[in-house]
Symmetry: C2
Subunit: 370 residues, 2 copies
């Protein structure tokens, strides 16, 4: 275990509400990190299992909702209950990180923390850990915030971007390392398509993976500088953690704090941010089109006694309930996602419009289906 004996902790952020892009699987009450898209376990289970390969469970915490904790306790009974942190309401990533920081600080004030989104899909685990090891090494100097950028292969308007200064740094890394390290010049929120193309053409923009590595001292210092109110919350939470006031204090703090992302609240103003270029097969399952790209056209999960029948049909992607028969006739390149109470039939390449389905349902009052 690479990080054994070191003060390395992991935070899995699983507080997000359902992504409307993966409707009807991902729902308001059943966010994508808790669904089993491929009959291979949930994303949160994959994340916990992936992290568990290098970091012991007692040094891993998950920040989630009350419902998320219930799902974890039901599906991952082996994970230490006390390391599941419950946010009373979701307030984006900055409050989530403040809570996790207070929790870890209480246990290990000298901790280097790896922040990971729960819905991370990684194709090359070896490369992933190699980058993370390098990041932990850099973050250990108590000076830098380490981010991971993904080399973009298309002008994607759905992601945030990290702009580097183009100068590949050789410091902080072993002399023979093939890892690319840059200083970060700026963070950019989701761009429009034209801007995304400009980012791609420039060569110095990377997709923001949402993974961060820092020493507790560093993130505390940056929070204090950029989000003093949230930093004060962190102190209040720190004092209350493990006492009988804990729940009350959390309820109180989350009743008035605002949803702010760590990118806009801290990163865009932070000093000494660097970026490791992470070429470990990062996949963001942001829409069904990306799921299909990732998984390819497929039939049914192993062990499902149901069946997919295709007659004069090919390249169709089907997600369906166990035991259900799905037949596609005379159609190619479609996505069929069938659940108990909602069915999506979508042309491949049109999955970005699934958001509009959810918008329509919300507008027309079909709350139960969101």
């Amino acid at each position: 275990m690479a990080f054994e004996g070191k003060h390395v902790h992991a935070v899995i952020m699983a507080g997000g509400t359902g992504s409307s892009m993966l409707w009807p699987c991902s729902r308001k009450r059943n966010p994508k990190q808790f669904i089993d898209l491929f009959g291979e376990g949930t994303m949160i289970a994959s994340a916990v299992s992936r992290v568990g390969e290098r970091i012991p469970p007692e040094k891993t915490c998950v920040v989630t909702s009350l419902q998320g904790r219930e799902m974890m306790e039901r599906t991952l009974p082996g994970f230490p209950r006390e390391n599941i942190l419950v946010e009373p309401v979701a307030r984006d990533t900055a409050p989530c990180i403040a809570l996790a920081t207070a929790f870890i600080k209480k246990r290990d004030p000298d901790a280097v923390t790896i922040i990971l989104p729960a819905d991370l899909l990684i194709l090359d685990e070896e490369a992933f850990w190699k980058i993370l090891e390098a990041g932990v090494g850099i973050a250990g100097d108590r000076k830098s915030i380490v981010t991971i950028g993904i080399t973009p292969d298309r002008p994607e308007p759905a992601y945030g971007y990290i702009q580097t200064d183009r100068v590949r740094r050789a410091d902080c890394l072993p002399p023979d390392s093939d890892i690319s390290l840059y200083s970060v010049r700026a963070f950019a929120e989701k761009p429009d398509r034209t801007t995304a193309q400009e980012f791609l053409d420039s060569g110095d923009f990377y997709w923001n993976s949402g993974i961060f590595i820092w020493h507790l001292d560093v993130i505390s210092r940056e929070l204090e500088r950029s989000m003093p109110d949230l930093h004060q919350d962190l102190q209040v939470i720190y004092d209350a953690l493990g006492t009988e006031r804990e729940r009350e204090v959390l309820e109180d703090v989350y009743s008035w704090n605002h949803p702010v992302s760590i990118d806009s609240g801290v990163m865009e103003r932070a000093e000494n941010v660097c970026m490791l270029a992470g070429d470990f097969g990062w996949v963001d399952l942001g829409s069904w089109d990306e799921v299909v790209k990732m998984k390819g056209a497929r039939t049914v999960p192993a062990g499902d006694p149901g069946v997919l029948v295709q007659i004069e049909a090919a390249n169709n992607f089907v997600v369906k309930p166990q035991k259900k028969v799905v037949a596609v006739v005379g159609l190619d390149d479609i996505i069929v996602v069938d659940t108990q109470d909602a069915l999506l039939v979508c042309r491949r390449g049109q999955a970005h419009n699934v958001r509009k389905v959810v918008d329509t349902l919300r507008r027309e009052g079909f709350e139960d289906y969101l």
Copy 2:
């Protein structure tokens, strides 16, 4: 009521097993005449209600399976139980007609009988009854078998055909009638596409509606001549009906008789067969494409709290369970038929291939889904 006081009886043939063309709604254990495709009642309910407008229930019988009787008793409790005739097994139309003939003969030996398929869809009820009245008038002479032919508008290989002698007859009809009556030259089973085109081009071929009108004496005579074994069965059944031997005799007769259609068993050899051209909007819901043609693209049945959402999608036909949401994104001209345990997604114009879906399921052992 046009036929009041006359010896006019109706037989509704509802013995067919599920049409694989309307899968997954029509199933082996839930044939199309017993399903409610449009939230407007089952076909058998429509048939009983249509016939009931002119013929009293005591002069109407339904020939069906044991399961069909159960469904009728559950959904049409007002229909006289004793007029539901149960065939132990389905043996196509000739045995079914022999059974009904024995039943009616027992009650009214002077009956003129109208034979109607249960899955009949009629757009112009007035015109329909006008043709049937003319047919009853002709059949009353105890000489002719009256058939109803539908003027074809396309070279349809899925139907049987009736060939006339092209000479419009003026006998047997009121002098001012605008109804067309022909002598029948031949019956033809489902043709291949080339032959169907020749039929259409010839101008003397009509689609066989499956509706027949005859006096009991006439069909008895024709059965005796062309199917002497079945005629003997008819006599045996006649003697047993209403006795305690009835069930046993039926079981016995149906254990050895063969499936034969009335067309091939009797009509092709019958004498003095005439045909009325029936232009009353006859629709055979033989496949989903025909259902769509009939119903047009539609959303959801009235009163369904579920919803159909279409984003960049049009002309889609959706059948779905109550309360389920269906969303179609980026697709036009598709047919979606969703049921509890099976889902069909089919391009319009390709519905004839639905049969292949059912064939595949049968071949692969998915009996429960047939």
